[in-house]
Amino acid sequence: MSNVFVSEQSEAAAAGHPSGRLLEVEELRVEFRTRDGVAKVINGVTYHVDAGETLAVLGESGSGKSVTAQTIMGILDTPPGFVTGGQIRFHGRDMLKMSAEERRRIRGEGIAMVFQDALSALNPVFTVGFQIAEQFRVRRGMSRGDAKKRAAEMLDQVKIPNAKQRINEYPHQFSGGMRQRVMIAMSLALDPEVLIADEPTTALDVTVQAQIMDLLAELQQERQMGLILITHDLGVVADVADRIAVMYAGRIVEEADVHELYAKPAHPYTLGLLESIPRIDEKGQQLRTIRGLPPSLLRIPSGCPFHPRCPMAQPVCAEKVPPLLQLGPTRASACHFAQDLVSRD
């Protein structure tokens, strides 16, 4: 019962042909070995991103979206986190097989990351200029003066006013939105091919969120980067993403082109997510939610991990794990009843 989408890629990799894709994650498995037992956090995640493309990874907290990103970056805390299977190919080469030094050189230049909370992600005791310029000095061997000039240019690119003065300020002297711009400037300093933005707007005001998303979209277009946007906010995704991968309990449950997904979700979980967006025309009515809680990763339900919460669940759902089935050229769903969902009106 292997699905077309995955098997195609496996063959290409097995034959040693780089698929021409920029970044591919294939059948990635990660577990956390804790005192309470082994938590299977990532259970065979497969996705890819190409140059100039935005992939949104959507899911509730604990669905494994951030851990996948950390594994790609190589900043997973080990212990407790261990990669137990799969590949992460960058330009066709498996990063999990590279030496630590090789992986380090990819960080920043090949793949860079924007973190959620810029206040804690930036070092509080160094000026933002130092933290940006540091990359030019260490990675590019630039002089202090040149690196500082480039750092100011970077702040300028993310539209921070008075960049020349502000590079001498510390992270706590910036507002939340400006701080996230600094974070973005820092991640883009070495001109990465792939940018992973891990909930870049979650810690910000709604108005500022939109500004940051616009900025990210603009920079991505300009630089033709591959952008992996990790979020739990469906509203954020609609405008900027090309494709969406929905994660649940460490698996991709649905992958689709953004318009297809919004128009006709092919997984009950996605449907539930879309229905739980508050709508102005339903004002006064009770907000629809997905009943229950995400499963504990220490004890993932048998069969489809979503079945205990699924309104469409049938006996088969508790027995068989639905594979990620290709439904069209750009979409796949891991639901036994995906066809029914798509074909209904």
Partner: protein
Amino acid sequence: MGRYVLRRLLQLIPVFFGTTILIYWLVWSVPGDPFAGKCGERACPDSYVQFMTDKYHLDDPLPVQYFHYMANLLTGDFGQTFGGRDIGEIIAAAYPNTLKLALVALTIEAVIGLTAGVLSGLRRNGFLDNLVLVSTLFLVAIPTFVTGFVLQFLLGVQWKIINPTVSSDAPISELIVPGFVLGSISMAYVARLTRTSIAENSRADYVRTAVAKGLPRRRVVGVHLLRNSLIPVITFLGTDLGSLMGGAIVTEGIFGINGIGREVYRAIVTKEGATVVGIVVVLVMVYLLMNLLVDLLYAALDPRIRYE
């Protein structure tokens, strides 16, 4: 910042008067006769006692005595001992030795404590970490006088590696073992403080960011992790220097170092009130200035702290 320093310096004035009054009052409230035993086997002749009492205003009420004392002190005159020695000179002779000992102790504390703390913090639960945990527990549990006498006996008497006592001009080389003894407990604290601080910060988000930037590990640790982790340790070391500069009665006593701790002890025993007050005034001022310095250093290390 300038206004903050000025305000802190002005605060020294009431503290100066407060401590001197308190110390003056305490020293002269201690029962006993300053002239008992001053004249060998016999009691001192009445004429001598009368002469000394007049000379030092001992019959005046305490506030008047204090007033006389302060009037002299503010012109830089610490007064004299009953034996006629200049108290200012006693302090000037003893204090350099105490300062040298304090600096040696601080250096040992900082170098060994920090190194042990950083290494064990980076490799938690490793062999070195456990070694540091056990040995620091050991050091903290043993009183200074035990460490002092044991090292003096083993190194000085038994194996003759060092001189058991320090010569009067107290060269740095002879102060290493006494400095270790004096600094040993703080050294253990520095090691543990550094370990905890490193261990805590190594999981911080900004360290993860530094890794994600593709910086080499030695830069992640040496620049990003260390700078943040050292803030509490340096504050501790600064405060500790303040108390080390207050003299070490026990350590100076064991190794026969002619320092301020020993002078204070001697003055208390011989009821030289003026000497005690004089030395304590100097020590209080030094301690307060050191504290101010630590606070300023703290602000310099952590840009989030600003004094208005």
